[in-house]
Homo-oligomer: 300 residues x 2
């Protein structure tokens, strides 16, 4: 076997992440750990040192596939810390240990997400109305936990143009028998005053406490502050990035998703993500608890 | 002829306004004046006193057809002030004078709207980027005036769900060769920082200076304040109401306009209008000039 063969194998693992545009950051971070475990079992190498070198290369390459999703790189970084310990093992044991360590990190991530939901659930009173934008896995899990524990809550959901993620979340909450009001994104300011709390997921939590999330999240957070409704962000520490906030358009996608007419001189813009400034976030919940940040005008 | 005949005639005039859900408040206010002039010419009455009584009844009934559009009632109120002067005239002269007075009020309204546009145009520098939400007649007229006078401006337009009024305005600006960026409503906060000014029309200006306008207008005004971009409201004095602001949902329309799936426990909300608080409005322009109100964080 040649190095070129392994390059091609690594590229196939990377393509799994590059081509999956439907799943969220957490799901793809888990998938990356599945990919490294599989590569550890199967990649043709002569000895443990060569295995460790190949695994390091793959981890770097996978981390670069979706630069906006810091959780992928963070999961892989946690796993990479376990690679030096492989050096004392025979090749076949090293292959198995690498896979076990990837699964261990994945389990840590699952536990962290469960803890985020549990920590948020502990703060909720019966009868609470929660408002959200887009379709966060953590927020969906929170609603599921409310239903499982019999905590009566209701929801205000935005449709979340252009992907209509709010329709998918509404269907999920309908199945959970949670009452929903579903609105256009334009009606956020009209309805946020009916909510007791805004709950958002996060694609990334930046070093200054600001959050990258679906476009419209900053708008909802502004309306919430004006109405005195606290904004809670649900994000485990695997989502924390070392970089500071960068304003502007994150991940601009195809213009035709908006269904607008094509007109001379009209540029259709379709930025998927934006930064929610830290000053608009009342509480961040991670796996260690709820961290109060900021409470300007907040009513609860 | 019996009173019942005139009742039926008045109802037919009212239906013209009740059934026109596509045109804006200003256009319907003009239509109301056309209707009273037509009724003045044609309604069967024995003398001038009976004519004045019938016209007063019709003005009241027309004013009640679209209670959210204060400009209809205000135009009719201006016309009603001319009715007492009819009493000294023979019937046929009174019919003609009533129609002339309705046309005079309509011309006052046209002149007021032109003055609003001229007063706004006078404040614009070449190279200005204007951002708006929905499709205001006054704002469209402002863009047309820019194009006519050769003042180079560009536009950021929201699509304005669920009616997509932003698509229609984009088509109009494309025809005027004004460069446009067209965005989802959810991207307002992302793009407002690129604007030099937000310009909004108004369905009604309330007594405290707040404005009733298409849902999403308050959201844009909040994002504008956060970004230091001043919000200008273009509204002549025919749009001023004596009532104070009332929060909440104004004119909720059919839920199926949102195209959301029908799901048990999911209530789709479709409020057309909302209140933009006076504190978020930097300048109101009426036919008498630009009235500075509030400049928190405004950059120009």
């Amino acid at each position: 076997m040649t190095l070129t063969d392994n390059q091609a194998r690594r590229q196939r693992h990377c393509r799994v992440l590059e081509q999956d545009l439907s799943r969220g950051a957490s799901a793809l971070a888990d998938q990356a750990l599945v990919e490294v475990a599989r590569f550890a079992r199967e990649c043709p190498v002569p000895d443990t040192a060569a295995l460790a070198a190949e695994l390091t290369l793959l981890a770097d390459e996978l981390a670069g596939t979706r630069p906006g999703m810091v959780v992928i790189a963070n999961g892989l970084a946690a796993w990479r810390q376990t690679l030096p310990a492989l050096s004392s093992l025979p090749l076949e044991q090293a292959r198995q240990r690498a896979g076990e360590q990837a699964e261990a990190v994945r389990q840590q991530r699952v536990a962290a997400r469960r803890a985020v939901v549990a920590n948020t659930l502990a703060s909720l009173q019966p009868g609470t109305t929660l408002m959200t934008h887009s379709h966060s896995g953590a927020v969906e899990a929170l609603f599921a936990a409310c239903a499982e524990t019999g905590l009566a809550v209701s929801a205000i959901l935005t449709e979340s143009r252009p992907g209509y993620e709010g329709h998918a979340l509404a269907a999920r909450l309908s199945a959970l028998s949670i009452p929903v009001q579903l609105i256009t994104d334009a009606q956020m300011a009209l309805f946020v005053g009916q909510a007791d709390r805004v709950v958002l997921g996060a694609d990334t939590v930046l070093a200054d406490g600001s959050v990258i999330n679906k476009a419209g999240s900053a708008l909802l957070a502004l309306a919430a502050r004006e109405a005195g409704v606290p904004v809670w962000v649900l994000a485990d520490r695997f989502k924390t990035a070392t970089q500071e906030a960068v304003d502007g358009c994150h991940e601009e996608k195809a213009a035709d998703e908006l269904g607008a007419p094509s007109l001379p001189g009209v540029r259709v813009r379709n930025c998927y993500f934006e930064v929610v400034p830290a000053a608009l976030i009342h509480t961040r919940v991670d796996e260690h608890g709820a961290h109060w940040r900021f409470a300007r005008k907040a009513k609860g």
